[in-house]
């Protein structure tokens, strides 16, 4: 006997049924596609945005020539340009170019005093030898000049123009994109805060671009290297030296030979890496952050799929008769299942494709948000546009489609289980069983216990000091799943209990009767509810704890009157500083009683980058009032005159590098390595890469430099902080001066901003879970339409039928919320004591926001009741199955 021709059959089923339904109810199909698209879009946008922000380590050489072969940088502080002579010797006869780079960031001056931190763009200002730059590949090939762009000068020939350009003070070259956007053409100027000065930069030309190279980042500014050194008061300083070899088949080998000579000669004085290393370090640094974002975005996708599942399941229920007839006409069960899976796949593919477009658009917005966070926490990034990454696109497309097929799996299976029409209407309606897993209460207990075991797993330590709390994540998964299963059992007990209470009310009893033996559909909806409620409530607990901790920390830490920093720095950048002349002038103000001068430098320890801080430890103890994770044994620690190489470290530092009080740390500096002994570990929520603090005098001696990154002032009694602030701002317009109250406000605001996205996700999560419950009830009522007809025939009114449904929904929600809240306490504990501690090294003070949790529970139950009421009203209108 001939086997059914599957493919033409599928095509027929698609064209005559699936497609027909989509056309007949386009709103519903579009809604489904839209839901999926949103899920995929959130995932894709967040992935693209974080990728763009993390890979924004663009070397200018990438724009001007090929990738550099190697990058030489200092392990601590700046590289001195004298090493160039050594580099020249090491390169010897090799046809290679060494490109010295000095890098800093700058910000336009604030247009009004009230402007918030992080609102202004950050420019990346690179100093390179603009003469030698012309020898780089792109110029050789394009013959594009740097010094012939100014048409206004009547000074005659090109050569004169060159000297005018290169010797004019503060001449910069800008990207074509910036020139276009800001109308910054040659002759124009761009004011920027660099260190404590507002500097007028003059646009001398556009950075020549080769269409074959990566696009010039719009916020990149180029300046002649010695001019930038002068401008920043950092004579002889370099950020790095890039080595670019002439092209050739043996380029990699030649680089290896040079590299080994560089390493041998440099010893601990410099680090030889590659630009890929630099990019990788950016990616490593933000790995945990990006992973968290990815998990959040996957949640969005999961939420979309939950709805798709519910919707497809509803469709199977409604198209039951059609399936039965098709089966009686000889369509095999297998092909029926395939047809439904195909429908899910097409839905997934359409939704994902729309999601890609939507996500790409969203990424352009998200990249700024993500970039802002990375800016504040990790390093200066200028990512203002997310490029299309085809690997990510394919991933998102696959993920969306595959997940949609998975979501369609159970509905398709139940479609295949519908018998041919002959058996219809003879009392044998197959009940939707749902995954058998959801009936296994024993398994739930095992999962909960296993989750407890998992919390004892140590975090996974990745390169660069990054830690991933895998055990905690796995544990959370076990608890949520276990809770989801328990939800089914809980609703049963609650329904039984309530049936005794509401003995006399028919509608309540009717509603509860469906829950005494909850169907697979009920259980699935409950699992969704438990999941959403528990995660939402846990997030509320985390945010509450964070809030309490931060409020306490901000209150303790900001005890002084005025906080001063360069107005050019609004990121984790340590490039913008206050010169010694300036800070000496300020601390000599008669109004100043005490001052803290903070110097900082990024240093590289073997296990990763961290921040070295030089400050007055006694002042720190008195005015920052640190909470001690490990308190110094002796007060001598805070006496800068005391002998010995004492240091204190932040809790993040201790977690990250696995060191504690009494341990010795080797700190690199331009004057060599110095050993310090950790005297104490303090709590800090400002910097997850950790900081190591030594007396400022020692820092200054090690780095041969007195430029400060911050200045903290305590004013003499009777001086108004606003008045002093205004005076300092008048004298140094390039300084940002915050009063204590303003800084506290800003810190709180930025913290809240960081969590605003989590609030949005919470609302979405709960809304979806409740919508899922609504879908479930709709399917249930459709299946019960004969019963409803009977009830109507018995004289029940529509609103009574709606009340039955409302009770059913409300009690289901009640069960979900009860289990969800209990699970959320466990998750909250996990987030506070495991995830945060292990990822960031932050200990939070737990806070249990009872009121908020109560409100959440009430809201979910009430909204679920209302939704069920509405679905019940709809269901009451349904005709009986065989009515005409």
């Amino acid at each position: 006997m001939r086997l059914p021709a599957s493919l033409p059959l599928l095509r027929l089923l698609w064209a005559r049924f699936s497609w027909r339904h989509w056309v007949l109810a386009p709103g519903q199909s579009l809604l489904l596609v839209g839901i999926l698209a949103l899920g995929v879009a959130v995932f894709f946008a967040i992935r693209l945005a974080s990728l763009a922000a993390a890979t924004d380590f663009q070397d200018f050489t990438q724009i001007l020539s090929s990738d550099s072969d190697g990058v030489i940088s200092a392990p601590a502080g700046a590289l001195q340009e004298t090493v160039l002579l050594e580099i020249r010797e090491i390169l010897a006869d090799e046809p290679a170019q060494a490109v010295a780079v000095l890098e800093t960031t700058g910000t336009p001056p604030r247009s009004n005093e009230a402007e918030l931190i992080g609102d202004r763009p950050t420019y990346e200002l690179l100093g390179i030898d603009l003469v030698a730059a012309q020898n780089l590949g792109v110029n050789r090939r394009l013959n594009r000049g740097w010094f012939n762009q100014e048409s206004t000068s009547g000074a005659g020939n090109d050569t004169n123009r060159f000297w005018q350009t290169i010797t004019r003070s503060n001449a910069i070259f800008v990207s074509a994109a910036l020139a276009e956007a800001r109308k910054l053409y040659p002759g124009g100027s761009l004011p920027l805060v660099l260190n404590e000065h507002v500097v007028e930069l003059h646009v001398a030309g556009i950075i020549p671009a080769d269409p074959a190279r990566p696009r010039t980042p719009s916020k990149l500014l180029l300046m002649d290297l010695p001019a930038l050194q002068t401008l920043l008061e950092r004579p002889g300083s370099l950020t790095r030296i890039e080595i670019i070899l002439e092209e050739g088949p043996d380029r990699a080998e030649r680089w290896q030979a040079i590299r080994s000579r560089l390493v041998e000669r440099g010893g601990s004085r410099w680090i030889v890496g590659t630009s890929a290393d630099r990019r990788a370090s950016g990616q490593t640094m933000t790995q945990a952050f990006r992973l968290n974002l990815t998990i959040l975005s996957l949640l969005a996708l999961a939420v979309g799929l939950y709805l798709v599942f519910q919707a497809l399941d509803g469709a199977v229920v409604r198209r039951r008769e059609e399936i039965a007839v098709l089966r009686s006409l000889g369509v095999p069960a297998r092909d029926m299942q395939k047809a439904w899976l195909l429908e899910a796949a097409v839905l997934g593919a359409l939704g994902s494709s729309a999601g890609l477009v939507l996500g790409w658009v969203g990424a352009q917005g998200a990249v700024r948000l993500v970039g802002r966070t990375i800016n504040a926490l990790y390093y200066a990034t200028n990512a203002d546009r997310a490029g299309m990454d085809w690997r990510e696109a394919v991933l998102a497309l696959l993920l969306g489609t595959v997940a949609s097929v998975l979501a369609g799996w159970l509905p398709a299976k139940s479609a295949a289980e519908i018998p041919p029409a002959q058996s219809l209407g003879h009392g044998k309606t197959a009940n939707f069983a749902g995954p058998a897993l959801l009936r296994r209460v024993d398994l739930a207990v095992v999962l909960l216990v296993f989750g407890v075991v998992l919390i004892f797993l140590p975090p996974l330590r990745l390169s660069g000091g990054v830690r991933l709390p895998v055990g905690a994540y796995a544990s959370a998964f076990c608890w949520v799943l276990g809770g989801g299963i328990l939800g089914g059992a809980a609703v049963k007990w609650i329904a039984r209990g309530l049936r005794i209470v509401f003995r006399e009310t028919a509608t309540v009893r009717m509603g509860l009767s469906y829950l005494v033996e909850p169907s697979g559909r009920h259980r699935l909806a409950l699992a969704g509810l438990v999941c959403a409620v528990s995660m939402t409530a846990a997030m509320a607990i985390l945010v509450g704890s964070f809030n309490r901790t931060m409020t306490g920390w901000i209150g303790r830490t900001f005890q002084a009157d005025l906080y001063i920093t360069s107005d050019g720095a609004q990121s984790a950048s340590v490039d913008n500083r206050i010169s010694a002349t300036t800070w000496r002038q300020i601390i000599a103000y008669p109004a100043v009683e005490q001052a803290q001068v903070v110097q900082a430098a990024r240093v590289r320890l073997p296990a990763g980058d961290t921040l070295l801080v030089g400050s007055n430890l006694a002042f720190f103890q008195k005015y920052a009032r640190p909470a001690w994770a490990e308190k110094p044994v002796s007060d001598l620690t805070f006496n800068s005159e005391a002998p010995g190489e004492a240091a204190i470290v932040s809790e993040s530092f201790s977690e990250r590098f696995g060191v504690h009080r009494g341990d010795i740390v080797k700190v690199p500096s331009p004057t060599g390595e110095h050993e310090v002994t950790i005297q104490g570990v303090y709590s800090d929520y400002g910097n997850e890469r950790g900081s190591l603090m030594v007396p400022r005098e020692r820092f200054a001696a090690w780095f041969g430099d007195e430029q400060a990154s911050n200045l903290i002032l305590v004013l003499r009694h009777g001086n108004d902080d606003e008045t002093v602030r205004a005076a300092i701002r008048r004298q140094f317009p390039g300084l940002a001066v915050f009063t204590q109250s303003h800084l506290r406000g800003e810190a709180t605001r930025m913290f809240k901003q960081t969590f605003s996205i989590t609030y949005a996700l919470e609302i979405i999560g709960v809304a979806v879970a409740v919508a899922g419950l609504g879908f479930t009830l709709a399917s249930l009522l459709w299946e019960r339409r004969d019963q409803l007809a009977t009830l109507r025939a018995m004289g029940l009114r529509r609103r009574e039928l709606a009340a039955v449904a409302a009770w059913e929904g409300m009690v289901t929600a009640l069960a979900g919320v009860s289990v969800g809240i209990v699970v959320s306490f466990a998750l909250g504990w996990l987030l506070i004591y495991r995830v945060n501690k292990q990822t960031f090294g932050w200990t939070l003070e737990p806070a249990w926001p009872w009121l908020q949790l109560g409100a959440l529970a009430l809201l979910v139950v009430v909204v679920a009741g209302m939704t069920s009421w509405a679905v019940g009203l709809w269901g009451a209108r349904l005709p009986g199955e065989n009515e005409e």
Binding site: Q134, W146, D158, P226, E247
Partner: protein, 384 residues
Amino acid sequence: MAQAKSLARFLVLVFLYWFRCRAADPIEWMTEEGFAIPRPGTKFNFPRDHGSHPDFAIEWWYVTGHLFESNGVHHGFQVTFFRKSAQRLAAGGGVPEGTTFFGLEQLYLGHTALLDGTTRRFMSQERLNRAGWDANASLEGLEVHNGNWSLRASNTGSDSMELKGSIRNEARFALSLTPRKPLVIFGTNGVSRKAREPSAASHYLTYSRLLVEGTLRVGNRDTRVTGLAWMDHEFSSSQLGSDQVGWDWACLQLKDGREVMAYRMRRADGTTDPFSTLAWIDAAGLVLHASSSEFTWSPIGHWRSPSSGADYPAEVTITCRDPATGVSRSLRLKPLAPNQELDGGLGGIPYWEGACQVLDESGTEIGQSFLELTGYAGSMKGRL
């Protein structure tokens, strides 16, 4: 090259047009900008005067030569180090500021070229650097470098020099140059006049016969080479006259142990400037100058560059009286390959600088030469 563009092309222009009729008081031996003017009777002091002379606006060390492999394959090569002072060009401006490592007082432009004798492929590269860590010239002796290209006096105490050059990653050479004749100082009383104006003059020091030994790498093939080279070291402060559009220059190294140096300054109307010169250097190193009326320079073959479109008279016959015999000689310069144009990729101004054979009237090879042809890639007039 109507689209006159970049700085560097201008520098090439400046370097190649080496004199300018700018009124300067010859009594003060100083240009308006404060640069020195070559002064008759100057006593040179070596090795110091092999080094840099920042008092003068323009200076170069120019090595051209011929390399032979043991199997007789004949390559031509060129390495040039130009120095240009900034003040000269900073119209009205002061001395630009720079740092020791990234100076702005001097710019260094370099050219390297190789005619691969095996494939007849001509390769060249240009490089521009500011004075500083990656380009500099010593004030004490011969020690000049631009990136990985360098020319240095040997530390053996002899007069020999070490020359290193490369063309991208395609060719590399490391050569020892040993003078076979004493240093020649062209011109009268230590000054070589180029135009009517007294300021248009240079100090022109030449090693006319350098024995070359060293290694040459083309691609990844290393070979030992020997040969002959010519080195000019010239410094001045003045540019070309406005009626001059270019020049033709040649150095000939004859098998009989003598050399000839000749240049013809070309005027806009096509005539030869009377300040053109020819000089014979006899086997002992004695120089005999001939004036422009005592020799002729006749193009006999042309090559049109496909890239620049310039029509170079790349094959010439120089007719002059042989001072040894008093008989008129006809010396024919025949290029080893037609395409020896430096395409001016960075500078934008192409010129022809190539290795030639020297043939006598009967067509017998009697020596080798280098020929330089400038001002053929369109009119240069009005670009200064």
